[in-house]
Amino acid sequence: MADLERLEAELSVELSAALRRYAAEADTSIDAAEAARAIARRHPRRRWLDAVGGTLPFPIRTAARVVLVAAALLALLLAAAFVGQRLLPDGLRESLLRGRLDCIQTAPGTVSTEGATVTTTGLTLECRFVTGDERTTGGMTLVVARTLFDGRNGVDEGTVTLTADRGTWTGELAGTIAETGARSASATLAGQGPFRDLQLSLSLIGSGSLSFVVTGTVGPSR
């Protein structure tokens, strides 16, 4: 420190004067307004980045920009996933939307969720389809697969009614469920609107001994 002061005292007045005279040879003329305009035109600001912490200190600004880019990527991924789900094959969507089907017997007979042996002439099942996802939309296909024990008797008529906690759902029996002696049938349900707790009433009228399994899957509307 003292060394520098001594040296500066000895030399700097002379040196700085000489340096300034030398530096004065520099061409300092400029049209500042024109220069600023030209620079701004050639180098437009990256406003979308500058907007994110443009005046913040370096580490914070960088972190803010990293967060911005990460958020943008995440949004992109979510959008892709949403679109992808829309475009997924039916089978995949069904597995994504698969819920739980619980059935209870509300009419004479013996029935469980897995199956039932019916010895009476009438049976009514009330099924509740729970997806756990209230955003679930689309159609629903309920397959009623029955195995007739003796093969002689079967279901000769049936109805399907649907109620949903939200939205409008209707159902109809399809296939061969109305045929006497049918070994399987399906009830196709279709509707619109979100549902989380879908209740299904299935009435089967028949005679003889039979067992059946009720399974439900949710798939896209057809």
Binding site: L4, L7, A26, A36, H43, R45
Partner: protein, 180 residues
């Protein structure tokens, strides 16, 4: 050397310039262009190179002005940007295979007396013996008038390290001038 109000006015133009106000940026250019050119000239020893370096420095300043945390450091920051550009430009120029010969193009104004001529020649010779970094240091200290703390902040050195280097530099310049 500088009126406080001049620096304060320029510092006040930072925020609008960062926001894209060309007129505010023009005020900053008008305030400091002379300093930048003089420093770059001492580093490069050539008006054209100095002009190129300072033009590049203004472009960088336009883009990165928002990163300047302390508005009071504007002058030192701009000088360091111009100095860096001048040094890099000089390095690139030295790598070129073809050297352009200048016929007294940058000899400067005619000296008033023979002693002045000798003084300039001695100084130019002494400067040529120094590297661009050292010339930049001298220019920042004795042309623009930055102190060791400002130079240290601009060059990434500690103030004490800057003082030590300046002292070594002055000894060397004195020796070159004495020998010359």
């Amino acid at each position: 050397m500088y009126e406080v109000s001049v620096d304060a006015r320029a510092a006040a133009a930072i925020a609008p310039a960062v926001a894209g106000d060309e007129a505010a940026f023009a005020r900053i250019i008008a305030t400091y262009h002379g300093d930048l050119m003089r420093v770059a000239y001492v580093v490069c020893g050539d008006n054209e190179l100095a002009g190129d370096a300072v033009q590049a420095a203004w472009t960088i300043a336009w883009r990165k002005l928002g990163t300047l945390r302390d508005p009071e450091r504007l002058r030192g920051w701009l000088v360091s940007v111009a100095t860096n550009e001048a040094r890099q430009l000089l390095r690139r120029e030295h790598r070129r295979a073809v050297n352009e010969l200048k016929v007294m193009a940058d000899a400067g104004p005619p000296p008033r007396d023979p002693a002045g001529t000798i003084e300039r020649i001695d100084l130019v010779n002494a400067l040529h013996c120094l590297g661009p970094d050292d010339r930049a240091l001298l220019a920042m200290r004795y042309v623009v008038g930055l102190d060791a703390t400002e130079i240290g902040a601009a060059t990434g050195r500690s103030p004490s390290g800057t003082r030590a280097r300046l002292a070594r530099l002055l000894r060397r310049v004195r020796k070159e001038l004495d020998d010359g």
